[in-house]
């Protein structure tokens, strides 16, 4: 080899491994419009499906007449519940233990519910046919407000559950009740409140919103009658789970179902669940013998497939006069809509809501959650968070501010006073979690110094006085948030989906020339796995990331995994990748020892190969080892160099962060201008700082949208309001504030590379930061809690109620 001698730093840089701001390899195709999404896939003879949907939120269906539609040239079939009944597919199990009508079975329970599936030669004919299908309704009384769902005289929303006093999660108290879930020491918590010097109590609501990925839900089902095999392309965040569900429902053996998730244009939780469109497309393909494509439009996406939140949290904190918290009591009323089809990977119906003690050392706590049915779209999903973690973080972070206000304490100081201390980790929370690692005081102090917190408070005080003197019509708010996430679902003791434990997997194969193909059970929807997974392998195995191909989403080739959501990919699949790589490394060490004619124990790893201890000239690079692994392995050793790992994590991971929002509100219009937003994240080991920054930017933008106006609203009749991007707030670059990002690094002690996951932190921490800023701006005028969303007219209403408009 006459290669120039290069330094260790250069060898390391060449790998583009962990810690490198490696450019996203997937962007080469995405930025040139060369991504391959479901709707880009066109198969010969492909038909198109579309739904007839309910006009009403609650009605009996007296009659469906499809005769005119069937007479339209180009219409191939119209499927209703009657056609699905003989197959037993008119209802389907949900991921939450409930059942959901695939097509309305005599009754509709939310507006835009699927009634009939039209299959036609093209989308235009399908939609023409929809206009020709007559549905006769008998309207029924509607429940929209979850607080009315359990009224004694509330209409029965789920006649199919009549007489069932026990649901999937225990006893039901009322015909519209789904479950009650409690956790924590109730009597000790009640005692803490009975003896408290100070208490606060507030109903903190998190409104209904929607993940709204730019690519809507869609699939293409193709059943091969000769082979008896089903190929299903779809926008699936969890392709293997979809395969298992499809097999269980259709009775097609799992090995004869090929689920392929191609490029996905965002998921944010929307694409975890199983939807009527998937079932109907599969049935239609089986019936017609032709491929059938179903693509949601924007209004269908926003109004039917999986909302998020609609959580109403009555929150109490007990504390001492000097601001030490002594107890937390939370009751949640959870609106799940018409069917409990929430995509919850935990074993409990309120997911990880019991992270509600947040970053604080609560000696006791109690949480009770009641789930109810209403005539709204079913769900929900975890919109860029672990299930119910965003709700929990919003609840505790708003409540801590309310307590600070009552005590006359600075909200940052109150948090500092109550943080779990560094030496308390691993920390057992009052509601049952073991926090893995953290240094909250360090992170908070760094954030306060970076933003100039004390100076901002002084400026705010001066502005408040100027406002009172009539010199300005602006008020200033400083939103303080310190959140702790719980991600990486999850340990099999805590988590499963339909009984499937929530491990994840990686399979790595080194080719003879030292390049790599690796496949995972995770599935990127934009997170950049093709980039970051290669970086983990590059560091672990000393092969440049550019020589590593990452493949996800094809259930025939990828090892079984539970997919990507809840920031689980890095904590679970990322760990599997490191563990699989280490298996390969062990074998590589044996081969290197053979080639170098030394004992394995005489070798040490050095960036991209093994060298003989004390004799650094004697080296075998991983590339050389790969060739030898196939062509001259040590005697008795199986040729080849590959490994598989299935990783069942020992614990969840607990990323955290300190976020500050500085906002100026025009009281005459209610318009809030974000002056600064500073986000410090600690996600443990950082794999690609640039991708982390991108994730934080995206999550903060969603948080900004949610807090400041993004809402799925209903009128009293259950008509969904504003289910289009005209009304549903999706910020453009113009509205989006400038983001300042920062970090500390506290590795997870139980994760092979110490990484915790970051994708969802900014949504979890961002929402309370914005909301706390609005509340902080008005607090000096006497408000204690202002409900989200904080769009201009609602903020103006607050100012009006306070008499600020003269």
């Amino acid at each position: 080899m006459n290669e120039m001698v290069i330094t260790r730093a250069e060898r390391e840089a060449r790998l583009e491994g962990m810690g490198c701001k490696r450019k996203r390899v997937e962007d080469v195709r995405f930025t040139q419009g060369k991504g391959q999404y479901v709707d880009d896939i066109k198969l010969p003879g492909m038909l198109h499906g579309d739904f007839v949907r309910s006009q009403y939120a609650h009605a009996n269906i007296k009659r469906i007449d499809a005769s005119k539609a069937l007479a339209l040239p180009g219409v191939v079939a119209v499927i209703t519940a009657e056609e699905l009944k003989p197959l037993g597919l008119h209802w389907m199990p949900t991921l939450a233990g409930d059942v959901q009508a695939v097509l309305a079975d005599g009754r509709v329970s939310f507006q835009n519910q699927e009634i009939a599936f039209v299959v036609a030669e093209n989308r235009y004919i399908a939609d023409d046919a929809i206009q020709l299908i007559e549905v006769e309704y008998e309207e029924l009384p509607v429940i929209v407000d979850p607080f009315r769902a359990m009224d004694p005289d509330a209409p029965v929303l789920r006649p199919d559950l009549a007489g069932k006093t026990t649901g999937a999660h225990g006893p039901r108290k009322h015909h519209n009740h789904i479950f009650e879930w409690t956790i924590g020491d109730k009597s000790a918590t009640d005692d803490a409140f009975a003896n408290a010097e100070v208490t606060i109590k507030e109903l903190i609501s998190y409104h209904r919103t929607h993940p709204s990925p730019l690519e809507t839900c869609q699939c293409l089902a193709s059943f091969d009658k000769i082979k008896g095999e089903l190929t299903l392309y779809g926008t699936f965040q969890a392709p293997h789970v979809i395969r298992t569900v499809a097999s269980l429902l259709s009775k097609i053996p799992e090995h004869k179902i090929h689920v392929i998730a191609p490029d996905i244009g965002g998921g944010f939780g929307n694409k975890v669940g199983a939807y009527a469109g998937y079932i109907c497309s599969i049935v239609a393909s089986i019936v017609t013998g032709l491929p059938v494509k179903w693509v949601e439009d924007r209004m269908e996406n926003l109004s039917t497939t999986s909302f998020a939140r609609d959580y109403h949290m009555t929150t109490e904190i007990a504390a001492t006069k000097d601001g030490k918290v002594t107890g937390l009591r939370v009751h949640v009323l959870a609106d799940h809509g018409a069917f409990d089809s929430c995509a919850d990977p935990s074993k409990w119906p309120a997911g990880f809501m019991n992270i509600v003690t947040g970053s604080y050392d609560f000696p006791v706590a109690h949480l009770a959650v009641d789930g109810v049915y209403t005539n709204k779209a079913p769900g929900g999903v975890a919109y860029r968070c672990s299930f119910r973690v965003t709700e929990a973080a919003y609840c505790i972070e708003r409540a801590m501010d309310i307590l600070a206000q009552k005590l006359g304490m600075d909200p940052a100081d109150l948090r500092m006073k109550n943080f779990i201390r560094r030496e308390q980790f691993p920390y057992q929370s009052a509601l049952g979690w073991e926090y893995d690692s953290g240094d909250y005081h360090l992170a908070m102090q760094k954030a306060m110094d970076a933003i100039g917190y004390r100076e901002l408070r002084a400026e705010q005080k001066a502005k408040q006085e100027a406002f009172r003197r009539g010199e300005t019509r602006e008020i200033m708010g400083i939103g303080v948030t310190f959140f702790t996430e719980i991600v990486g679902a999850g340990p099999s003791k805590n988590c499963d989906i339909l009984g499937v434990a929530m491990f994840d997997s990686a399979e790595i194969r080194i080719h003879p020339t030292g390049s790599i193909i690796a496949r995972m059970g995770s599935k990127s929807q934009g997170q950049g796995h093709e980039t970051t997974w290669a970086q983990i392998i590059a560091t672990e195995l000393g092969i440049p990331a550019d020589d590593i191909m990452i493949e996800e989403g094809n259930t025939d080739t990828a090892p079984y995994g539970l997919g990507t959501y809840g920031s689980r990919s890095t904590p679970v699949a990322g760990a599997a990748i490191a563990m699989a790589a280490r298996k390969i490394k062990n074998k590589a060490q044996m081969i290197a020892a053979h080639l170098l004619e030394v004992s394995e124990y005489d070798l040490e790893w050095d960036i991209d190969g093994f060298r003989v201890k004390g004799n650094p000239e004697r080296v075998k690079t991983m590339k050389e080892i790969a060739w030898a692994a196939y062509n001259s392995p040590p005697p008795g050793l199986e040729p080849g160099l590959e490994a598989v790992n299935y990783y069942d994590p020992p614990n969840m991971t607990y990323p955290f962060g300190a976020y500050f929002c500085v906002m100026d509100i025009d009281v005459d219009t209610g318009v809030a201008k974000i002056r600064r937003f500073y986000a410090l994240d600690d996600c443990g080991t950082r794999i690609n700082p640039m991708i982390i920054e991108g994730q934080v930017h995206g999550g903060l933008t969603e948080a900004f949208a949610i807090a400041m106006g993004q809402e799925i609203k209903y009128d009293e009749m259950g008509n969904v309001q504003g289910a289009s991007f005209m009304d549903f707030f999706l910020p453009t670059a113009v509205e989006t504030p400038h983001w300042e990002t920062d970090f500390t690094v506290t590795p997870s002690p139980h994760h092979p590379i110490g990484a915790k996951g970051v994708g969802e932190s900014p949504n979890v921490g961002g929402v309370p930061a914005f909301s706390n800023a609005v509340n902080d701006a008005f607090g000096f005028l006497g408000t204690t809690h202002i409900q989200m969303p904080h769009d201009a007219w609602r903020v103006w209403e607050v100012a009006r109620r306070l008499g600020l408009h003269g």
């Binding site: 939609d127 023409d128 206009q131 219009t669 504003g722 005209m726 509205e735 007219w793 103006w796 408009h805």
Partner: protein
């Protein structure tokens, strides 16, 4: 979001277009940028069986300086309004308003004619045309006629445009050099219609308002020319009390709907806030020559 079937026509002259509309009657609709009509068709709230595309009529895409009047063809896009040096110099409020319509992509397709002819109360240009005292040139089977923008709008989507007629141009009298102007629009985000918006054009004689015109967007089923509010400010120095009185007078003629942008009460109040802010900004510009 899939439209029903229709026949697409692309005439090369106004005469040909009028002929097509006459031949197909109620089943035909003219369109230019398509950003109002096509979404309605995709929602199947509109289902014309004949679409007459005006984009092929090159005479309609010009901006002409006639001295005291500027004549803008119906298919001049918002982007072209923004680019025009003539308008920047003589009618800068047009540029200011066009820049607040939708987003750059839509402004490349959306036209002045479509914006004023459609009768959508959310559109920005109708109120501006009322403020400027513009007239619309309408071509029909019996020739051409002119209608004042202040008389044109009857209700949401109902105007004096008759079936078979096409709005071919907008004639705008040019305000005197040194006039003050402002288009103040409150909206939730880029691409949104106004929660409330106000157009103001005024001239000053020393520190006294010599003339003023105020009009409002999206706070009633039609654009509103705020005649009383305009009259109130003339002869004053635009002191705080006058600005408040004008805002109150403008609010009094509004009749907004409650929608996702806010309650009717909020939107009415915002009409007042926009009028007050536009007046102050316009006067400031007149004073400083900005």
């Amino acid at each position: 979001m899939i439209p029903g079937p229709f026949v697409y026509h692309r005439p090369a002259s106004v005469g040909e277009a009028v002929g097509l509309l006459a031949a197909h009657g109620e089943d035909a609709r003219p369109f230019a940028g398509g950003h109002s009509l096509i979404p309605m068709m995709k929602l199947r709230m509109a289902a014309p069986s004949h679409l007459v595309d005006l984009a092929g009529i090159s005479d309609l895409a010009t901006i002409r300086d006639e001295g005291s009047t500027v004549v803008i063809g119906a298919t001049v896009t918002q982007a072209a309004l923004i680019r025009s040096d003539l308008l920047a110099a003589r009618l800068p409020i047009l540029r200011e308003t066009a820049l607040q319509i939708a987003d750059p992509q839509i402004r490349t397709k959306g036209t002045l004619g479509g914006n004023v002819a459609n009768g959508d109360p959310g559109n920005d240009m109708p109120a501006l045309m009322q403020c400027l005292g513009a007239t619309y040139v309408l071509a029909g089977p019996d020739g051409s006629r002119e209608v004042a923008a202040r008389d044109f709008y009857e209700a949401a989507y109902f105007t004096l445009l008759q079936p078979g007629e096409i709005l071919t141009a907008v004639r705008i009298p040019v305000p005197p050099a040194g006039h003050g102007y402002a288009y103040e629009k409150l909206k939730r985000k880029i691409g949104d219609y106004a929660t409330a918006a106000a157009a103001v054009v005024l001239t000053l004689d020393g520190s006294t308002v010599a003339s003023a015109a105020i009009a409002l967007t999206n706070v009633a089923s039609t654009p509103l020319f705020a005649e009383e509010a305009s009259r109130l400010v003339v002869g004053t120095s635009l002191d705080a009390a006058t600005v408040k009185a004008a805002a109150e007078a403008a609010k009094a003629i509004t009749d907004p709907a409650t929608d996702g942008r806010g309650t009717a009460e909020y939107r009415r109040e915002m009409a007042g806030v926009m009028v007050a802010r536009a007046l102050v900004k316009a006067a400031d510009r007149a004073r400083t020559g900005a």
